[in-house]
Symmetry: C2
Subunit: 307 residues, 2 copies
């Protein structure tokens, strides 16, 4: 079986290096960061931290070099899905493409380029330390399932879940993966931008009563939008928020969006709060707090542009 990781940043690298441990899987990685690609090809892709792994795989920044693949696993930032799939779609003419990205709307963007799409959500996290080397911060589960309008066959979804699980990335194949996806979207949309706008770590956001109440207000809107779509969350995002605030979990963690803001990189807010607002509008559910947060983060991004 041949799998191509599309976007081999921190999360993509966790899948790539672990899947490369399997004898029956050939792993390719497509990424535009040439130094990272070169390091992977020369020395392998190294993970350290929650697990120590070196994966041997083929990496490239040239989409035309990709051979036909059975699966794609898309792990770009959400705003790069369209361009990454436009470049790589030829490799998935006979395969299925799974997203493990943040936010909502990624499946729809993938489905504009390929036939069979797998919905997915992943909790493991890490960061690139240097080209070819990723720090694996958090282990966690992945949930995948059909993207309803253009689903991959159930058998294929199970085959991908089985490979990931055997590789050390525990993955469940469900008939409806939206419950896990929306739990994570709601968690991210309620905590990430609050950290980004205030400069506070996850634990400190949760300590300030006024802010914790705002987080719950954002969660409530997200839950209402999920419910209006007939989605049953697999667990309450509030539990995840409180769990992550523990000193032994992620009290000191700077949300990825805060890292983006500090580095003046475009954020994924359009696919988090912006996504909740869009799905809310389509389902007649008001989302004024998510709209406010979306607007503020877009304002922060605008402030980096010269006039």
């Amino acid at each position: 079986m041949r799998i191509c990781i599309v976007g081999c940043g921190a999360v993509g690298s966790l899948f790539a290096a672990n899947l490369a441990q399997l004898d029956d899987v050939e792993v390719w990685a497509y990424d535009l960061a040439r130094a990272h690609v070169d390091a992977i090809n020369e020395r392998g892709l190294r993970l350290s931290g929650a697990g120590d792994v070196v994966g041997r795989l083929r990496a490239t920044s040239e989409a035309r070099e990709l051979p036909p693949c059975d699966f794609g696993i898309v792990a770009t930032k959400a705003m790069h899905t369209g361009s990454a799939l436009a470049a790589t779609a030829h490799a998935f003419g006979g395969g299925a493409v799974c997203t493990v990205q943040n936010g909502v709307g990624n499946e729809e963007a993938i489905a504009e380029h390929v036939e069979r799409v797998i919905r997915g959500t992943t909790f493991p996290a890490g960061k690139i330390v240097e080209p070819g080397h990723v720090q694996w911060d958090v282990k966690g589960d992945t949930t995948i399932g059909p993207f309803e309008p253009q689903p991959a066959p159930a058998r294929e979804i199970e085959r991908l879940a089985d490979a990931c699980t055997r590789a050390g990335m525990p993955t469940k194949a469900l008939p409806d993966a939206r419950g896990a996806q929306w739990r994570k979207v709601i968690f991210n949309a309620s905590t990430n931008p609050v950290g980004a706008l205030t400069g506070l770590t996850h634990g400190r956001v949760c300590e300030l009563e006024l802010l914790r109440r705002l987080v719950s207000g954002l969660v409530d809107e997200g839950k209402a939008v999920a419910t209006a779509q007939g989605i049953v969350l697999d667990a309450d995002p509030e539990e995840l928020i409180d769990y992550a605030a523990r000193p032994d979990v992620a009290y000191d963690h700077k949300a990825s969006m805060l890292q983006d803001v500090e580095a003046r990189r475009q954020t994924e807010v359009d696919y988090l709060n912006g996504g909740i607002v869009r799905y809310g509008r389509d389902n007649d559910v008001p989302t004024p707090l998510n709209a406010a947060i979306w607007a503020l983060v877009k304002g922060v991004e605008r402030s980096w542009q010269e006039q």
Copy 2:
């Protein structure tokens, strides 16, 4: 007539220097910034910009030096009202004290220390350039009236308005000054923190459609809270917002709260959005957007504290 300016920052200095031009008014200034006090006593208080004035007055950081005064004009930042009045109240045993501060709740804080209170709102603005020298950026009107629970007599309110007007600070005495006060509070609460959270000037906030819509959402909540109290705004805050966004008015203006955030100074958000939330709660008017903005700015302030 003897008038003491309590808090002789930018706005206090505009009143102090102009009132000191009048032969029938003796002006004192109470301020904790010793360098500013010393400069005023040595060289007078100089205004430049919208008007060029040098005022001769007595300044002090020692409240016990203040003689009995007919009027106080309080111009401290809103969070310093209580401590400033606790120190200076003895000077106003026979007088009346007027606020020209930002936000809501200042009259109540003053009334804890003195008998007769005058509600007030002022639009002129400036900034301290160096000790003893204030740049007068914007001319504008002042509106004063009784603080209903502990009003100064109408005759006294008119006497103060007349002195300010003769001194070049046009001031109207109204039986109900709340319409002007709430228009300014709503304007400030809807634009200041949005600039502070995004880093954008007033004009750029208004250009980004998502943000301009958030500003209107904040305005609508403020209007509802005013209406619930029986307050009739003297004009629509939306007009002031659009007017200020013009390139020839305040397009490039950084809101005072953005200046505070950039300098890591405590902001007045508790008296702007926080005030709207409190009055909303007292009047059963929901204010979720103002609560969100209040929480985010408190979070920003918290991020400056070491853990």
